[in-house]
């Protein structure tokens, strides 16, 4: 883990790795990373805003993502993540691997996973038995039908958690559908992340399945009935190239409907996409 003789960084990084600023033919690189398996993924429980840690597997996925980023030669100037530790620690492992612990990191609740309302904490199979598989499928995979909301006396109310003390209580959800997640994420994308990208900063976003779905839906203009079926594999960095207007540039190796390209061996990525899809179905 400890390096014996760290090499000082010298000027003269190849131009291709350094972002240039300005001009209509400007291309920007944006990397998205979905965190890996959490303790509650393992326990097959709806998680949402509950702040569960990564499992051992999730930790390994985070380290593997870091290794992929190192191999890619990509570098970053700033990172964005949620206020949930499974995304934050995933980011930290990547930054350590890249030797970029020093870059500014911005945390926002707006990048949190979709809030799962009164389902949070419940076992997925039990929930299907209780409400029926079809109803659960609707809550999980519709674009605009939220799960039942948290009750007024629920200890899980975000208002009870001091990390949200500065958030307008009216903005704190008691339950979200994917549409709600998008509505609270995209303002932050526009106000904070886009200006950073346009200023020439190379951005890494470490977040969650549904917050990233919200973002790629926006970037690639994906239809509401298609996006719930788009599964972003965990622990595999997804690289977008954007133009001056933040529209994705087509890339070789991208798999529709996303314009982004996953890092790593194509076969391994395909297997990961399949695995993520099945995990989503079976559980």
């Amino acid at each position: 883990m400890a390096d014996t003789h760290p090499k000082p960084t010298l000027e003269g990084e190849p131009d291709s790795k350094r972002a240039k600023i300005g001009g209509e033919d400007q291309t920007y690189t944006l990397v998205l990373l979905r965190h890996g398996e959490s303790e509650w993924n393992l326990a097959n429980r709806f998680t949402g805003w509950v702040d569960v840690p990564l499992s051992e597997t999730g930790e390994a996925e985070a380290r593997a993502a870091g290794a992929m980023l190192v191999d890619s030669g990509l570098t970053f100037d700033v990172a964005y993540t949620s206020v949930l530790r499974r995304a934050i620690t995933t980011l930290w492992r990547s930054l350590e691997a890249l030797d970029l612990c020093w870059i500014p990191v911005h945390h926002s609740w707006r990048l949190n996973e979709r809030h799962y309302g009164a389902l949070q904490g419940l076992n997925k199979i039990e929930t299907a038995e209780k409400h029926g598989a079809d109803q659960v499928h609707i809550w999980r995979r519709s674009y605009d039908v939220p799960p039942p909301p948290l009750a007024d006396d629920s200890p899980m109310l975000p208002a009870n958690d001091r990390r949200y003390a500065d958030v307008d209580p009216a903005d704190l959800p008691r339950s979200e559908c994917l549409k709600d997640t998008a509505e609270r994420f995209l303002p932050y994308w526009e106000s904070d992340i886009v200006p950073a990208i346009k200023s020439g900063k190379r951005v890494l976003v470490a977040a969650h399945g549904n917050s990233l779905r919200a973002l790629v839906k926006h970037l690639d203009d994906i239809a509401e009935d298609v996006i719930p079926g788009v599964n972003i594999p965990t622990g595999v960095p997804l690289v977008y190239k954007l133009d001056a207007n933040m529209r994705p540039i087509a890339q070789e190796g991208s798999v529709g409907p996303l314009s982004g390209v996953y890092l790593g061996d194509a076969a391994a990525v395909a297997a990961k996409v399949e695995a993520t899809k099945n995990q989503s179905k079976a559980k």
Binding site: D3, P6, L10, E11, L84, R85, I88, T89, C101, W102
Partner: protein, 290 residues
Amino acid sequence: MLAATMRAASAATTSAATATAATAATASARWAHTLVLLRHGQSQWNLENRFTGWVDVALTDDGRKEAATAGAAMAAAGLEFDAAYTSVLKRAISTLNIALEVMGSEWLPVSRSWRLNERHYGALSGLNKAETADKFGEDQVLVWRRSYDVPPPLLDTDSPYWPGHDRRYAGLDSDILPRGECLKDTVERIMPLWEGEMGPAIAAGQRLVVAAHGNSIRALVKHLDNIDDNDILGINIPTGVPLVYTLDDSLRPIRQENSAGLLSGVYLGDPDEVAAAAEAVRNQSAATAH
């Protein structure tokens, strides 16, 4: 998974400690502000007895354990924070991250600032004690180590250790970037961060944790406790032991029952372990590079 294990262990001891801390906190909440300073633990170059300064060396496994222990101590004491500050050097950043993980506070906003970096050791960067004595002579080395305002020999700008070559400092004017610092220089470049950001945050009610370096922490405590130029060099901050300051509304420290000598802060943790850590750093300081 060290952090997870330690978090579980500290959770068991937290409840009783939290109740006491909470009572004390409520009693003085309106005018008492918390600032915790944490010096990072063993780095690879500590092991090799080299002057480090701004060179970005990693923690050793022992250094990582020190960070986890510090996090556990803060959790057990029921300490809560609203924001964190650290340098742009990974030995401090990792220390903070590990401590936050053990405390379960990974979500805290973190400001990384070069102004909290360790003192820059100029042309001594990378040299070990024997090499330094050989090169410059024992007497000269003693002067640099024991003076408040005599800087070490300065780096040339073509040295690979000159910060101008490192893109993390790309936004800074090259005349701000040090080529070597005495402790006085370190104090001077920390003050804009204290006055511009940290102090106002504390005054606004934010409880801060700061993970930094021996000399950047010396600079802060010198300012807080108005310590003499002559006395500050004799202050050795133990590594991995949280130093808890309670400040009034004017950001002046309130002396506590177990304040540590010239410092108004209180070291957190098992008293025997704290004493041992202080002794260790005193001996290391006498024998070695810092």
